[in-house]
């Protein structure tokens, strides 16, 4: 009987890693977007904080988008 324990272990570790990274990054992105919305609603006094928040959100969602693109690449090839 040949059981691919190595492959199973790899599926487990990579699956766990990718899922946690994507969900954590996306959550941070959601946080940044919320901070951005707060900053913009606060008027001129707080709107300067909107820039960094937007950049952080873009970074987080950008990495998530790259992972999605790689997933599609895996599906197609």
């Amino acid at each position: 009987m040949h059981i691919k324990w190595g492959a199973l272990g790899e599926v487990f570790l990579v699956g766990l890693g990718v899922t946690i990274v994507v969900v954590v990054l996306f959550s941070l992105g959601v946080n940044a977007m919320a901070a951005r919305a707060d900053a913009l609603e606060g008027g001129a006094a707080t709107s300067r904080a909107a820039g960094p928040a937007t950049a952080l959100a873009a970074l987080c969602f950008g990495v998530c988008a790259l992972v999605v693109a790689y997933g599609i690449y895996l599906i197609v090839t």
Binding site: V18, F26, V30, N31, A34, V68, G71, I72, V76
Partner: protein
Amino acid sequence: MDITFIVLAVVITALLFDFTNGFHDTANAMATSVATGALRPKVAVAISAVLNLVGAFLSTEVAKTISSGLVDETKINPTVIFAGLVGAILWNLATWYFGLPSSSSHALFGGLIGATWVAAGGGAIKFMGIITAVVLPALAAPVVAGLAAMISTYFAYRITAKTRPDQAAKGFKAGQVVSASMVSLAHGTNDAQKTMGIITLTLITAGVLAPNSGPPVWVIGLAGLAIALGTYLGGWRIIRTLGKGLYDMETTQGFAAETSSTATILISSHLGFALSTTQVASGSIFGAGAGKRLADVRWSVAGKMVIAWVLTLPSAAIVGALAGEVAGLGTVGTIIVALVAIAVAAGIYIASRRDPVSANNVNDVPETTRPAVTTAA
């Protein structure tokens, strides 16, 4: 004449199986989005249907083996495949009636095993293959996907604990649209392939196609359409169980569950350790529930699902064996099996109309699965 009749019967039953596969497995990709309201029910199944159709054309790798080393492939003939498909279709319909997500692949394997047993005896069954290709992945899938979903759900709630709830819900809702689509696409590339593989192999054994040829375009198109049509009609009963039957799902949990499903399905098929989409998706949904509040998950529903998983292969095998026995008599036997199968399928459909579940009431929590307030915890 006999050959062409049974070949035609296999092609039609394979497409019907593909159709049941589609509506049985819509829930894997879309139950979470329907439940959290990220997508309206009709929109969700439409997206899933289109991506299943696209997936059928996208993937170039056709399942050359349909039995995954479970039976001696030299003993498989069109009659065995026909009987196996009948067993798989009827089991899919029965589990759909009860709203239970069970693996369409396991149903297919079970049907083939039963039909092969009748045709060639128990010696043609590779029992070790059943352990490595069915039992072990079935144990691993929910654990792997469930743990990933559970841990990431926990982190997601920790990170967004101080975030305005409306903003968080909006963000994860948008994320869900993408993650659910990815599950659908990954599913479409896997499952439509199975049917194409069966039809192509049958055509090759019948001498219609040259050995080692790929599926003709009409086979790809028909298989893709069958699974897409099944997906669009929507297995609302199973969507309700997975989306609303287990716990009251929020968008954060839906997103974490879908991400875990996509990652696990893609990585497992990439590394050659194929896991059942159904069991991965169910495991993810449980994990996402447990990652927030363990006690709120209706574990009694989980118990029913596990029982359905355990019964899937043997039950489909018994139906496949009976169908194989009768179909083995020749054309008349095949026609009898087809008529009986149609009658049983019609019966299940009529029974389902007494308590219909549709896009309109899919998110109503069924009475029987409401948690008993104190005992369930």
